[in-house]
């Protein structure tokens, strides 16, 4: 990888972390480009361990990790580029929301004026202005989550690492927060998000990293990952007026392994081992005689991918 590439990527090289004899993560090799990257996996899969490794809160047992070219054991440089919203639901005692963010900024060495300005800007971004002067001890779970988010993004980091950032947020704030992530990603920054909620991950992620028992089981764009799972044929749902005719045409293709007419008689579910050939064939059919209303992948999402790769018990 070129030097410029290193300085634009998060790199994990044969990264392992053991807690005594317990495995945290093992032999992780990743290259994470800018954009929204989701870490997906059940409890204990290694998501938080990987994030803590990325931020130097814990140190690798083996291997190396670089964040935009920086080592993670140099917090003085690392956290000028990185903001981390942890899952740790505890705060220095006695602080208000504003003091929490402001004090964090003072640790950067910023003066009062700059710290004050950046603190209020971050608090506004997470919609917590009215509660900012209240003690964090009196905050709801969602408010605590938002003030942590404000702390993570108050210094305008190039890499935003967020451990279950949408937990406890109401739908409106959740939508605003997702919009904020997208805004960050659109500016060419890294947003690393861990989540259990797969449909949310599917909705916001540019790429996903699937973790299970400390190992990366798949990574990349979700559609790319799905197409590589050959033992599970792709499922495609087609809505059309002549499903019977379409089904008979489908059966003539060797890559189509199953066709089921939908219960309402207005569509069919096709399973194919070669999605590319299937879509080319479908274009021909549509151009000839069958009126096709919609075509949509039925299992081209994180949920299905996760189920295929890890199994039912892994899906939350």
């Amino acid at each position: 990888m070129s030097v410029s590439g290193i300085h634009d990527r998060i790199l994990c090289d044969n990264l392992s972390k053991f807690y005594g004899e317990a495995l945290g993560v093992n032999r992780i090799n990743l290259t994470i480009p800018p954009g929204i990257t989701s870490l997906v996996g059940p409890n204990g899969s290694g998501k938080t361990t990987l994030m803590n490794l990325m931020t130097g809160l814990i140190h690798p047992s083996r291997g190396e990790i670089r964040i935009l070219g920086l080592r993670t054991d140099q917090p003085e440089d690392l956290f000028r580029l990185v903001g981390y919203c942890t899952q740790f639901d505890s705060f220095p005692k006695g602080l208000t929301g504003y003091q929490f963010v402001y004090s964090y900024l003072r640790l950067f060495g910023y003066d009062h004026v700059k710290s004050d300005r950046l603190a209020w800007r971050a608090i506004e971004r997470v919609n917590l202005v009215e509660a900012a002067r209240r003690k964090i001890a009196g905050y709801s779970k969602g408010m605590r989550q938002r003030i942590r988010l404000a702390q993570a993004l108050c210094h305008d980091p190039r890499v935003l690492i967020l451990d279950e950032p949408l937990n406890g947020l109401d739908p409106l704030v959740r939508a605003e927060t997702i919009a904020l992530f997208r805004e960050y990603a659109a500016e060419g920054r890294h947003v690393i998000v861990s989540s259990h909620i797969l449909h949310e991950v599917d909705m916001i992620s540019d790429q996903v990293i699937l973790l299970s028992n400390g190992y990366v089981v798949a990574e990349g764009q979700i559609h790319g990952v799905r197409s590589e799972i050959e033992e599970h044929p792709m499922q495609i749902l087609i809505r059309c007026r002549q499903p019977g005719l379409l089904a008979s045409r489908m059966f003539q293709q060797d890559h189509v392994v199953e066709v089921r007419i939908h219960g309402d008689g207005a569509g069919l579910l096709v399973k194919t081992r070669d999605a590319d050939r299937f879509y080319r064939m479908l274009n021909h059919i549509a151009a000839e005689d069958i009126d096709i209303e919609t075509v949509a992948p039925a299992d081209d999402d994180v949920n299905s991918v996760y189920e295929y790769l890890i199994g039912e018990e892994g899906v939350r």
């Binding site: 807690y19 931020t55 809160l57 003085e76 690392l78 505890s90 005692k93 006695g94 060495g109 003066d111």
Partner: protein, 366 residues
Amino acid sequence: MTGLHWDQIRAVIRLEMRKTFFAKRGLWVYLLALAPLVLFLGHAVAMRFVNLSRSHLAARNEKPLSSTDFAAIQEGMSRDEVIARLGRAPISYEHTRHSRNERDEREEWQEQIDRYSDGQSDYRFTYRDGKLAAMDVHGGCDFGRDSIIFATTFQLFYLRLAVFFGCLGIFMNLFRGELLDKSLHFYFLAPIRREVLLAGKYLAGLIASVVIFTTSTALQLFVMGWHLDSNSVSNFLYHNHGVAHIAAYLGVTVLACVGYGSVFLAAGLLFRNPIFPAAVILIWESITPFLPALLKKFSVIYYLTSLCPLSIPVDSGAPSLFTMLVSNPDPIAAPAAVLGLVVLAVLILFLATRSVRHLEINYTTE
């Protein structure tokens, strides 16, 4: 150290101050610091009352009396002779005493008690059959005796227990307390070198401990002289090295905080349970007099006792533990003691920086 580092240290100190001074669990540190002050204050208040009552008694003498007048009084003198020299006693009363003789017979006799005062001391003359049978003198306080009491309290209780455990409470909590509260990651997520963070926390702990314990030392010294007359105080201050002694006690208190602060900051990084390191260090500090010369240099109390202005006199019949704790067979010169203690603290803090560099946030194991 750059300007940025100093700004960061100030930010850490600002955050830590609130916790260190106002933590509920730190209340006992104040109690430890105030314990000897309460002792000396109680003594001072009691002595103020005693002095006041002696002044009132002296004012009721038939004529002004000084200690020289009382020195002329001898046992065996008749009551009339005493009255001729001192005048009638302002307080005089009789009472009947009794005991059993060798044949187990009850015996009774009259005693005449006369009480005088010269304003400083209380004199109680007991007459039997018109002759002075006993002369009890209850003297006032003097700085010499009080200084020894202060030195003993300072070395045995204040340095070895109050400052020791106070620093344990303040400095061990700087990192260990935040690990237990699960809030240390707040600092570890900031762009601050771990060494700078450690320096900031140490200075915050040092400021707190120095303020608490030197204030207590200063107040103890103040109340020690509070009940004495101004002549005694100025005599002590300006003719008996009083100023130098006060400066030495305050300096030793500061150095105790420097030394024990570094020890317990490092212990807080290395040990989860404070009891074990506290016990080991307490024993180590207690056996310092018996350690070889080289090992003594790794003891904080060795330097501190060398800097204390007064050595505690030990009677031949004193308990061996007391003798062990107050003995300092080979004290070193003050400049060497200050330098040695500072070097020891820096060395310990250097080791602590290595530990904090490798410290991980893994709250589940705490």
